[in-house]
Symmetry: D2
Subunit: 278 residues, 4 copies
């Protein structure tokens, strides 16, 4: 069988030839890891603009933010929907940031494509194969999150649903898996990073915010993910984490985000210098 | 908060008052457990009719069969689609069996409703909240399978998405969860049966075929499930399991199905006699 | 390789020839399932005698009770030690019940053998291979609990450590495994029951008290375990569960124990009648 | 309650004051991470000396090697026992390396203490509380491996068994936990590293060899572990991995070990430079 994004055993990929792909001037899966940052949920224009300006000022190029939110309980806040998309568009227009947001269902694809630069498939939809098939036909970059109970192989096969359809602007995201230990919200499976690089041509980033569920663990786990070879880090930032409508405990405040950027930048520079020496 | 299908701690449900609901003359969640049987996948009219006649002759009232199949790999057989639905309709018309089949996406609901009596949400879509919301607005009975990565609480909250929308013709299905042990395909969590009965008004059945992945474990686990209080058992039956296009190892042959029905009927009679004595 | 208690694929065991073994007049693994009951921990002579008399009166033949307790925290009650063993001996002498109690370490074996009829290896010691090897050389029956993190295969290989040493008076106990779902204390893996019967000659019982952690789930799960083919059930009983020093939530009160025995006896009779008909 | 090695919420530990402890001139838990290397199992004097000389030449100070091996099957090689300890002693005498080896049972403690500098408790014995209590009374440093099914809290409580007894020369090791995904042998839980540093005063190292089970993943995961803040890395090295009696797939060859040391040293220098800047 010929895979579209997975390697056969015979392939001998020259890792230096991985080029990734470009979205609005940002290369994903290239030499330099990317940072994606923003609020878990778009709550208001004020909140979103405040975060957008801060992450822009820090040098980030991609803003994340949820308008459609898959929530465990039907009684939890479900996101602002199209109103949230409009707010993201406003942030995009003002700051020049690329916008990444979630699409939950085939029926939402057209709408989300009007506002977003990158479509996100959430962990709970990684095995929503109808959605994946439809995204294979869309001319938009997609970030596919690993299901929190999906094996690495299942993630790669889910990715194949999209690339097989013709959409090769795809990257995946390790965001923690479920285990018996509830010390942290999920168990960040960093070994998936080098493993996926050995098994496929896909760029892979990590999401330590959802994985750990704790703001105070995000910096060490981001540095660890980059050291393991990740192509980027996605983090949640909120101007007032304690007032967040969703996932406040895991959101970086603007101050913590500044510290995060400093340390992450040093690690990225160090890793680049190591590669040059090789 | 007032739940639609979950109990509050204050509620003191008289278990004898659980009535369940009726679909085409079959009561689900009533005094007598139900049997749902049929092939994993509709492969051909011949295969489906052969199973339909056999399960009908054995006294079964509901036929299961997949036309849209969520498969881990995009290169696996994805089901016959509408052609499969038409075959199920033929079996329904000839045998009088009710037909239960999977709907994978909001865009398929109207189509599937033309052919089926009961809509099934598969394990990989238990957290597809767009689909659940849409099913809350449909005047059709729904069977919601527990996600293999979902806690009992998450299953019940997913059920709330449907009942909150106004659709109270809902029952759930325990079909095995993932664990570290791969001795069987999944780990059948029978404790979920009495637990869900304590926490909600929902009927719950079990699916030992997908849970164990082995035909030779289906009879003992079905008897165990009924003894734990399940409202029914769903099993896969295939005229030639070794030739099945999907999940052959876990399908009962027609002979094994006969043995299954005999033992299950005895257990049901015994449990009914116990209840009368109470 | 020739296993001592595991079956090779070639073996064609006539299940009716399983005979089990006898301990002090009680056959374990024979035609009739056994009930083992008693307090989690021996707390005092009064508490132990109260339970011993009640379970004896109900027809139970084996009393369980812990004197050496493996506790997660060093600050939790660690058991009465030899004093607890003496209390168990008193109960044995007065009631004629056989006594089963845990041995945690090779250095305790001689001491425990002075007081007990059956030695128990706890879930946390299933992979304590030094202990297992030593128990292979002891002329005492052993009950080996499945580690809550052990696969069925690992349990059977641990059993081999004992039977290979020459001690064939061995039975195993499914007591719940760890999973991502904390709805119950552990996930009772009842499928292990028919699976172990297919893979080995070992009798297997279940422990729904530790598996579920909830007294109100013990009756349905005991009935389910017997229906799955278990050779027995072990339950915790306490005169005043709310005052128990350990695991009170999962202990049956004396009243609940009476209800338990009535339902369990009916199920055992039903299953025996089914076997006779075959 | 006053813990011996765990922090209370009130404690406000100045992380710079962590000093660790010294064993034979090597500081564990100090400013510089340590490397522990050696064969999984002592197979012969030739094999052990070959690895010992290579790791010594590379600057390593602690040699690991198993003489008593806890194996899942009683038919697998169980280690050379005391003969293996003697070989380790020979390597110690010739190279000046400190020797770390496993003790499986209370009855082996005296013997192992005659030959080793650091006693290791294996993952399968993390809840062998009799062994932990005995090690609390021994004047030897101990490395306690996390059970592959133990929560972080359970690991720390197990550590308390040792420190409470008076032995404060203790460090712990994250070596991978069990999950549903068998892409790698275990799931390396690197988040445990910063978490344990927040919760206790214990040094923590990682063992990527056992966690991943694959030699080609050891370098990226070692770098990731150090970036997450680990106090050291333990790896398996074998002169001829394909001929290893145990765990050959995860052993670094001597060539790979050289590459490993180069990259690990660069990361350690980088991290030290970062700390100085703070």
């Amino acid at each position: 069988m010929k895979w579209s994004c997975l390697f056969t055993i015979e392939q001998d990929l020259d890792l230096d030839e991985r080029a990734g792909f470009e979205v609005g001037g940002v290369r994903i899966g290239g030499k330099e890891p990317i940072i994606i940052a923003g609020p878990c949920t778009v709550e208001s224009e004020e909140q979103t603009m405040s975060v957008a300006r801060a992450v822009k000022a820090a040098g980030v190029r991609i803003l994340r933010g949820g308008a459609f939110k898959p929530r465990t309980s039907p009684y939890s806040f479900q996101g602002l929907g199209e109103e949230g998309l409009r707010i993201l568009k406003t942030a995009r227009d003002e700051t020049g940031l690329l916008v990444q947001t979630e699409v939950m269902d085939t029926s939402q694809i057209d709408l989300v494509c009007k506002y977003a630069d990158i479509l996100q498939v959430g962990t709970r939809n990684m095995m929503n194969y109808s959605l994946l098939k439809a995204l294979g036909k869309v001319g938009f970059p997609v970030m596919l999150k690993r299901g929190f109970m999906a094996t690495v192989e299942e993630l790669l096969l889910a990715a194949e649903y999209i690339t097989k359809g013709g959409n090769e602007q795809l990257f995946v995201c390790e965001r923690g898996i479920r285990s018996f230990d509830d010390s942290t919200r999920f168990t960040l499976d960093l070994t998936a990073v080098p493993l996926i690089k050995k098994m496929s041509s896909l760029p892979i980033i990590i999401d330590p915010s959802h994985a750990t569920g704790r703001a105070d663990l995000i910096i060490p786990m981001s540095l660890a993910g980059l050291a393991a070879g990740a192509d980027g880090v996605m983090v949640e930032v909120h101007p007032y984490p304690k007032k967040a409508m969703c996932d406040g405990l895991q959101s970086l405040s603007l101050d913590m985000f500044e510290e995060f950027m400093g340390k992450v930048r040093s690690m990225i520079s160090f890793l680049a210098s190591q590669k040059r020496e090789e």
